[in-house]
């Protein structure tokens, strides 16, 4: 059954090669892309079922056993996130058919989309810390190739900031992995978990762990390391924005969750307090940033930052309840961000602008579509019975449980403030009359594309139904989040699964 692990990484890579090499460009490559995503989703669902039934699934690459070779591991958290990544990938691959112009897609859009998904899936499944770095780079270089082609000056400007700051995080990550290897002589994460407590110089371990926190903090856009995100996300094509907003930062969050529950458990108090403070600051700064903007893409970009705070809260509070709530929030956040970005793309397509001041009257012309937007916006805010409500309810429960009143206060305040920009989009773009700008009555609006035969509607409706289903029936996902959180807080099953019987061998010495 460990072949499933390899398949989940292999399917996107093979699809990328096929989409690139198959003769003929767009309609063909888009079909290959959608078919590849469907295959990945099927493999991911099988993997999740297998992991939930039989526990941690491990595959040793090339027949080299655990501490020596590279290991792929699927625990409940990893498998759950692979499924979510496949869902988002499928949604984006369908959305892109009508969103990315054919001449831009000819630069290999479909291939790089799959390579990016391969990087994301690989990062979720790898059991080797250097391999994690490699998957991060696969993801990063594909993201460069997705964001730059077909761009104008604004996008070039945004891309420079995105790329340069992410490269800084790459260097920090690489350096900290080198130091970690110097301390322990191993790169296998399960092996590291056993050997790090035995390192004589625990102060150095703390230093390395903070380096990791900085590297993952930049990737995850945590306050005060998030500045690359609002500088670039609003300049991208909507398909790419939706993909990045949904997945890219969450890989950073996942990496932080993994390393700080499995590896760096020695100086827990310090890390936990730093993460908690950063998470709360990220939540509040993100939502305040969203309130100051009038461009829908920028509002959502800041919401992405804010939601990262919610996802790190579990690591900051450290209880099983909080961890499970954060994982639930992560799944909800990934889906709702992809959906909202796709929706504002449709809003802009119908209204001619992303600027709230230039939009209006959409409720009159597109009532059904307006309801979809309202549903997604309320799901983000957390109005019952939508998915965001259960995520936030669980987080509030964890906040009460932790006994930290001010955590609870900031949590509730952020939730309330999240409502303001979303309802402003609703009232400006949908409710108020369409504005006529003085002196520009004859300005050429883009031809409104009829939404009837638009591929962009399929993922929007699909993701809405999925969020509604999670909202109405949160039980299964809550159970999954619980077992994912249990797997994080008690890593013994992960370690035993990877190392097998060799798990309790003594340290064999420095390299």
């Amino acid at each position: 059954m460990s072949a499933l692990l390899v398949l989940c990484v292999l399917i996107p890579i093979v699809t990328a090669a096929l989409a690139f090499l198959w003769p003929g460009t767009r309609p063909v490559s888009a079909r290959i892309s959608v078919a590849g995503m469907l295959a990945l989703l099927a493999a991911a669902l099988l993997l999740l079922r297998e992991v939930m039934a039989n526990g941690v699934l491990v595959a040793h690459m090339g027949g080299w056993d655990a501490p020596m070779g590279i290991t792929l591991v699927a625990d409940p958290l990893g498998a759950l996130l692979v499924v979510v990544a496949a869902v988002v990938g499928l949604a984006v691959s369908i959305h892109a058919i009508d969103d990315i112009p054919d001449d831009v897609a000819a630069n290999g859009f479909d291939s790089f989309l799959h390579l990016l998904i391969a990087g994301v899936v690989g990062a979720f499944l790898t059991g080797d810390i250097f391999n994690l770095y490699v998957w991060f780079e696969v993801m990063l270089i594909s993201s460069f190739a997705l964001m730059v082609p077909g761009g104008d000056r604004v996008r070039l400007d945004g891309a420079v900031k995105y790329i340069v700051l992410n490269l800084v995080s790459t260097v920090v990550l690489l350096t900290s992995i080198g130091l970690l290897y110097g301390l322990t002589g191993t790169l296998n994460m399960a092996d590291l978990a056993g050997k790090l407590p035995l390192v004589a110089n625990q102060g150095l371990v703390t230093v390395v762990s903070v380096l990791f926190l900085v590297a993952f903090g930049i990737k995850a856009a945590v306050f005060p390391l998030y500045f690359w995100l609002p500088a670039s996300y609003h300049t991208l094509p909507i398909s790419v924005s939706a993909l990045f907003a949904a997945l890219m930062t969450k890989v950073g969050v996942y990496a932080a969750l993994r390393t700080f529950t499995l590896l760096f458990t020695g100086d827990e108090e310090l890390i936990r307090n730093v993460v908690l403070a950063a998470a709360l600051a990220t939540m509040i700064v993100g939502v305040l940033g969203a309130m100051t903007h009038t461009d829908m893409r920028r509002i959502l970009a800041y919401h992405v930052i804010s939601s990262i705070g919610f996802m790190l809260l579990g690591l900051g509070l450290g209880s099983a309840l909080a961890m499970s709530a954060s994982i639930f929030y992560m799944v909800h956040g990934i889906l709702v961000k992809a959906l909202l970005f796709m929706l504002i793309g449709l809003v802009a397509s119908a209204g001619g602008s992303f600027e709230l001041g230039r939009l209006g009257g959409l409720y009159r012309t597109r009532p059904g579509f307006s309801m979809l937007f309202l549903l997604a916006a309320l799901a983000l805010v957390g109005i019952p019975p939508l998915s965001g409500f259960w995520a936030k309810l669980a987080l509030v429960e964890a906040g009460i449980d932790s006994g930290a009143g001010w955590v609870l206060a900031i949590l509730l305040l952020t939730s309330l403030l999240t409502f303001v920009p979303m309802i402003r989009i609703w009232s400006e773009a949908f409710w108020k009359d369409a504005p006529v700008e003085p002196g520009q009555e004859d300005i050429a609006r883009p031809p409104t594309r009829g939404p009837e035969r638009d591929s962009r509607l399929i993922p929007v409706i699909g993701l809405s139904l999925l969020l509604l289903a999670i909202g109405l029936q949160p039980g299964p996902l809550l159970a999954l989040a619980d077992s994912a959180a249990a797997g994080l807080l008690d890593p013994s099953r992960y370690i035993d699964g990877v190392l097998g019987a060799a798990g309790d061998q003594p340290v064999t010495g420095q390299p």
Partner: protein, 159 residues
């Protein structure tokens, strides 16, 4: 040997941080290339140095051997770093052609507020047509341009 390499890492790190604090994008990128090499040296150094011993040995020769893993890691990091750096340098060149500056204080188009000039599909109209007012900090807007013909034209023609 460790001390020499350790000092070298320190000096190179200091130099690259100094370059990365520059306002000039090109200087920043050279700092980034340098700091990438510093990271490789750190891996090499932290992995343990072995002088004059081969990483691969025959079955009979069980004497000294060098740990091959740090070398493999550095090699991987060099390959990845090469790809990232070459992409970034090309991007910086395109950004210079399109924006007319490499001063990061002047590269503010993406973060500026105001009407977005969104006209067709996902692409934005050329800046000059849609932005009325605002600060005129970009050299491209004030007309001083190193590559007025090919660079700007090729980027804007597609948008």
């Amino acid at each position: 040997m460790e001390i020499v390499l350790g000092v070298l890492v320190g000096v190179l790190m200091a130099a690259s941080v100094w370059m990365m604090l520059s306002r000039d994008l090109v200087k920043f990128l050279f700092g980034l290339i340098l700091i990438g090499n510093v990271a490789n040296l750190v891996i090499f150094l932290a992995g343990g140095l072995t002088l004059g011993a081969p990483p691969l040995i025959g079955e009979a020769d069980a004497g000294g051997y060098a740990n091959a893993l740090p070398q493999a890691l550095v090699l991987t990091a060099i390959v990845i770093g090469f790809a990232l750096v070459s992409f970034t340098l090309i991007l910086a060149m395109r950004a210079w052609q399109a924006l007319g500056t490499t001063n990061v204080d002047e590269m503010v188009i993406a973060e500026r507020r105001g009407p977005d000039g969104w006209v067709d599909g996902d692409r934005l109209a050329p800046l000059a047509d849609t932005r009325s007012g605002g600060d005129q900090s970009s050299v491209a807007e004030t007309g001083v341009h190193p590559f007025p013909a090919d660079g700007t034209a090729s980027v804007e023609a597609r948008s």
